[in-house]
Amino acid sequence: MKPADKKRVLREMLFARRFEERCYEAYVERKIGGFLHLYPGQEACAQGVMEAARPGHDYVITGYRDHIHAIKCGADPKAVMAELYGKETGSSKGRGGSMHIFDVEHHMMGGYALVGGPFPLAAGIAKGLKMKGSDAISICFLGDAANNQGTFHETMNMAKLWNLPVLFVCENNLYGIGTRIDRSTAVIEQYKRVSGYGIPAAQVDGQDVEIVYDAAKIAVDHVRSGKGPYFLELMTYRYRGHSMSDSNAYRAKDEERMWSKRDPIILLRDRLIKAGTITLDDYKTMDTEILDQIENQIIKFAEDSPEPVVTELEKYVLAENDPYVHPHSSRGTH
């Protein structure tokens, strides 16, 4: 990573942190409803991988912890926040909510609420890309606990069988809600689980964005060069509860403290200060600017945006005026 890139990367990770913290507040203020899964602690994962990939060109799919992945693809943070507010200007027009952020224009293929659901979808997207001769790849970000779904195994087999251009990124934060990985999973090291399918894999520190970037570069190059799927395990930690309704009571304070010492943002910040790329004041200014942008542009946009209208409740259920619904009548549009 070039020094200029590193500075931007720091800024983007700090933005991700502040964005999510602001979501937390908005939830407490009851501006956001439903389930809300936040990303603080894991920023280097999406950031590092997307640095190595081609955002907006490569296709991304993930679970419910999806705001930052969408923004990394190029989604407008204003539209993401508006979605969380349930507004018509939201990325899914207020119909989806936090767990279902979509921005197809930027190849963000969505957040899905069913654990393990995106695995085969990601492989399917890769199949399509391969058929079309595209140089884009499919990237599937999911958690560690998702690997216990049948879809994980079924998809790994198919992805290798058909050598599909798909990168599986496992953000291993050691927990599936309140259950620690060793209580749910026979083999703790997730990257080992794909060896039975002949898929190359690596496990790296997910808190150091430069390490993530380097590992992701190898992974992305492998997949883009037509060699088939790759599995990248990133060791990470989420600071907050699984969702807003989770108190985090099951985690040892020592463990939390240990991980907070390896904060991905602080890690890069201190490294850049040490290298003389930035000063602490630069960082503080950056933070102030970000907080201002979030408050005065993003939140403001979400607050000021209109609600969807009830008369459009049944819009988007099925295609409108599809000519083949009545192929022999004049009602068709062809």
Binding site: G33, G34, F35, E83, G86, K87, S92, G94, R95, G96, G97, S98, M99, H100, Y112, A113, L114, V115, G116, A145, A146, N148, Q149, G150, G176, I177, G178, T179, R183, S184, T185, Y250, E307, P308, V310, L313, E314, V317
Partner: protein, 344 residues
């Protein structure tokens, strides 16, 4: 009688059955150490240990199948599916294994498994966390489907389901776990078949189940107080089989029927109850039965749209007023001008 919350009633039923029979086990995601998403298994892990209170991986089809397999040789698993939305992943095992094994084996094998899961729309949980799947479960032979509308039923239905030799699906509701009601102090087994009259009345029968029973009761209050209409509310706590005799008896008394359901109308509880009315007591009717059901949309996230998608007691009130107005029309068989008069 003690007043307790729906979740407390479930917890008590689990606890009693675990204490009584060492072959009873509980399985599910976060049901052990964490005590269950809705606390239905709170404290049981500490009391009965990890062999019997099993925190499972997120492998719904896998652990449901494992529980069903254990039930083949006499284990009595109570499986919690964290949300009915996740039950879709376990459908293969529920339908292809649990529901069919007795029949396929000519009665040699049975799957005495209990599967509990909450469904329904809660507060802005979005399209993939707002499934109402009662219609799916009740449409398959070999599976019992019950759905408690209060803490007493929650307790008694679970107790009976554990003892029953059939697979029983218990459809709970995300919004009802903190709802309080009286539960008998002594052991109580609720019947797995039948229906209950939650409110007796003469003018019209409102059929509900689970949360829609409460909408019906609220509507009945409003209709009585503001319009002098006397509604009977029938609680269909058994969705499979439906209580044909109970449906017939109530409709034969009131001559009018409305079915309130939280799901979309198509292929649902309402259509099934209407079919039963047609088959059992068509000539008792003074008006065409109506359904009050959800709009035919995936549930939207936006609060206002979500409210518009799902019915409420208000919709029931409107539907009843419309039906009674209509049935007063001169072409109706009911020639009386009073809303209170049933069949002449």
């Amino acid at each position: 009688m003690a007043t307790m919350m729906y979740w407390e009633a479930l917890q008590r039923a689990h606890d009693e059955e675990l204490a009584r029979d060492p072959l009873v086990i509980v399985m599910g995601e976060d049901i052990g150490v964490a005590g269950g998403t809705y606390k239905a298994t709170k404290g049981l892990y500490d009391k009965y240990g990890p062999e019997r209170i099993m925190d499972t991986p997120i492998s719904e089809n896998g652990f449901t199948g494992l529980g069903i397999g254990a039930s083949f040789i006499g284990i009595r698993p109570i499986i919690e599916l964290m949300s009915v939305n996740f039950a879709w992943l376990a459908m293969d095992q529920i339908f292809n294994s649990a529901a069919k094994v007795r029949y396929m084996s000519g009665g040699q094998l049975t799957a005495p498994v209990v599967i509990r899961s909450p469904g329904g729309t809660a507060h802005q949980l979005g399209a993939q966390h707002s499934a109402r799947m009662e219609k799916v479960f009740m449409g398959v032979a070999g599976l019992r489907v019950v759905t408690p509308s209060n803490a007493r039923q929650a307790y008694g239905l679970l107790k009976s389901a554990v003892r029953c030799d059939d697979p029983v699906f218990i459809y709970e509701h995300e919004l009802m776990y903190n709802m309080k009601s009286d539960v008998p102090d002594g052991e109580y087994f609720h019947p797995l078949e039948g229906s209950e009259i939650a409110r007796a009345g003469r003018d019209i029968t409102l059929f509900g189940y689970n949360i829609s029973v409460h909408w019906c009761l609220q509507a009945a209050e409003i209709l009585a107080a503001q319009h002098g209409i006397d509604c009977e509310v029938v609680d269909l706590f058994s969705l499979s089989p439906l209580d044909r005799a109970g449906i017939k008896a109530s409709v034969s008394k009131t001559h009018r029927a409305l079915i309130a359901e939280e799901a979309e109308a198509a292929v649902g509880v309402g259509s099934e109850v209407m079919a039963i009315i047609n088959e059992e007591c068509f000539f008792e009717l003074d008006a065409a039965p109506v359904r009050v059901s959800a709009k035919n949309v995936p549930i939207p996230y936006n609060h206002t749209l979500e409210k518009a998608a799902v019915p409420s007691s208000k919709d029931i009130v409107h539907a009843v007023l419309k039906m009674l107005d209509h049935s007063q029309h001169p072409t109706s068989r009911d020639t009386s001008t009073s809303l209170h008069v049933g069949k002449s």
